[in-house]
């Protein structure tokens, strides 16, 4: 079989059980990478010696691509930043340990926006990843390499991380499935921190069943991350029932406002009707503080980032400028040459918002508005089981279109940011295509630890449509 790379993980599991060699799957994927990655540029690093560490297990023989901000022992892990060039972690992230134990084959590291700062993959020190549906367009970000590689069948599954939409937004723009789990569902140990109160690792896959399968492997309590929550991990695949009769779907009016692309609006509204046709009850809801989410996020996210990135000083690992005269000079030269433009901008903004005289006006104010945003969701979930919205206001934009206007770039995450501020789980699934043939994504959010509800709703939708089966011709 030459087309094993086109299969999903659950299809490959069946193929392997009926005699297909796992090495044939890896071969097919590696040939595909070799053939098209010079065009897509989804990989920061290809592990040509990829092997299966353990036999058996839930992901036995399945190739998985890892976002480049997740530590893999003794393999390059750079966050697509010059400041971490040549860094190879002396330990595995907890999610990596779990993947290896489950039999997964780690095939390399995915390109990303530098330190996950971006919505387009254009801030990577390796240059941009391209959208496999249209190579002149961005794949979204920051997990753009992960989403593009899944869409282009250069991997079977991938891990991304999501701080303000970095899994869901690229999944939407590349026509694949991306899930940000509830804050605390997946250990962050070994994820190089961007904003510690917002970051979560999650799956990017070809369909909902694969997302359920992969989440089941990586989720769970970890003593090495004290913010991971000690509640049992359900068998997510049991939620894939197609039955959503009586499920209450909230549709917030604030997510269908001026500025949203009409084709996106039409596709999502049509999809809500599909869900209604499957037996769901549609309820109008309001999330009145939605318009404040981007401001709140850019204060909190940048403040936490400026603090987390203080550790990159050239002393212990990564890039060091060797012309320095003294310690302070080493820090300044290393950081000024090692960080790219967007990283500097976020560090400056975050430091400003945390500095004496501005802390109360910006940082503390944002934490209070975060409470209001969280309360909006608590009120909404009294009326519904999940919330359905567009994932992004527009389909994929052109490379270079928003690079000179940071604020316009920030606004492309307007629908995904609220779930991070409130700690909620959210998925993006394919729900249509623009007239130009670009994928459109629908977001489904649920209560904290309501991933089963998300899987139930999204699987029912997916199985009654065929958007997830379309692949770009590349």
């Amino acid at each position: 079989m030459d087309d094993l790379h086109l299969l999903t993980a659950h299809e490959i599991k069946i193929a392997i059980d009926s005699g297909v060699e796992p090495s044939a799957v890896l071969d097919a994927v590696q040939k595909r990478i070799e053939a098209i990655d010079s065009k897509v540029k989804a990989f920061a690093y290809v592990n040509k010696k990829a092997t299966q560490v353990k036999r058996g297990g839930k992901l036995s023989g399945i190739p998985v691509l890892i976002k480049d901000n997740i530590c893999v022992k003794d393999e390059a892990t750079t966050c697509s930043s010059k400041i971490l060039e040549a860094f190879s972690p002396p330990y595995d992230a907890t999610v990596i340990k779990r993947l290896k134990d489950s039999g997964a084959v780690l095939i390399g590291k995915a390109n990303m926006d530098e330190f996950a700062f971006g919505s387009s993959c254009e801030t990577s020190c390796y240059g941009p990843t391209r959208n496999p549906w249209d190579l002149d367009r961005i794949p979204g970000g920051s997990s753009g390499g992960s989403a593009a590689a899944v869409a282009a069948s250069q991997t079977i599954m991938a891990l991304g991380s999501d701080t303000g939409g970095s899994i869901r937004q690229p999944a939407a723009l590349c026509g694949v499935v991306g899930l940000k789990p509830t804050y605390g569902r997946v250990s962050r140990y070994g994820l190089i921190a961007f904003a510690s109160s917002l970051d979560q690792i999650g799956p990017i896959t070809k369909d909902v069943e694969d997302a359920a399968l992969l989440l089941g492997v990586i989720a769970g309590h970890d003593v090495l991350d004290s913010t991971s929550v000690d509640i049992p991990v359900p068998d997510y695949c049991k939620s894939l029932t197609k039955d959503i009769k009586g499920l209450r779907l909230g549709v917030p009016k604030e997510y269908f406002v001026k500025g949203i692309d009409p084709e996106v609006e039409t596709a999502v509204k049509k999809s809500i009707e599909t869900l209604r046709g499957l037996g769901a009850i549609v309820v109008d809801i309001s999330l009145p503080h939605t318009e404040y989410a981007v401001s709140t996020y850019y204060i909190i996210g940048s403040a936490e980032a400026s603090s987390n990135l203080a550790r990159f000083d050239g002393a212990h690992y990564g890039y060091r400028d060797t012309d320095a005269k003294d310690m302070i000079d080493m820090y300044v030269r290393t950081r000024s040459k090692g960080f790219g433009d967007e990283a500097k901008r976020r560090i400056l903004l975050g430091t400003y918002c945390l500095s004496a005289g501005y802390y109360d006006a910006y940082y503390l104010k944002a934490l209070k508005v975060r409470t209001k945003i969280k309360e909006d969701f608590e009120r909404a979930f009294a009326l519904c089981d999940c919330i359905v919205t567009p994932t992004t206001p527009t389909p994929a934009f052109k490379i270079g279109e928003k690079t000179n206007d940071p604020l316009a770039m920030y606004l492309s995450d307007i629908f995904t940011i609220p779930a991070n501020l409130a700690g909620l789980p959210g998925i993006s699934i394919p729900c249509g295509f623009s007239s130009g043939g670009l994928p459109i994504g629908m977001q489904i959010m649920a209560r904290p630890f309501g991933e089963e509800t998300i899987f139930r709703a999204s699987y029912a939708f997916e199985q009654s449509t065929d958007f997830h089966k379309r692949r770009p011709t590349i």
Partner: protein, 98 residues
């Protein structure tokens, strides 16, 4: 909102970044427009609102028993050092010579 060059220079110093003069104006105008957008938050009355620093309301400080466990070896901890000497990270001189 206007952010002047001195403010950006001061924040850069706090951030241990040095910006070329040619970069300063770009950061001034971009930070100015971002902060203007962000000031939208002042429309909301938050007088009696408690801050949320963390999404998990149930989270408490987690303590572990103070028992020795294996950790990274010295060689592993040093494997990425830009410069080292013996079992130490090597950095430029910190204390001035008399």
């Amino acid at each position: 909102m206007n952010i002047d060059r001195d403010t950006v220079r001061r924040v850069a110093l706090l951030s241990r970044l040095s910006l070329a003069d040619s970069e300063l104006d770009g950061y001034c105008s971009q930070m100015g427009s971002i902060l203007t957008y962000i000031s939208k938050l002042n429309e909301i009355d938050t007088k009696d609102v408690a801050p949320t620093s963390h999404p998990l309301s149930t989270l408490k400080n987690v303590y572990r028993k103070d028992v020795p466990k294996p950790s990274l070896t010295t060689a592993e901890a040093l494997q990425n050092a830009p410069s080292k000497e013996g079992d130490f990270f090597k950095v430029p001189q910190v204390i001035e010579k008399k």
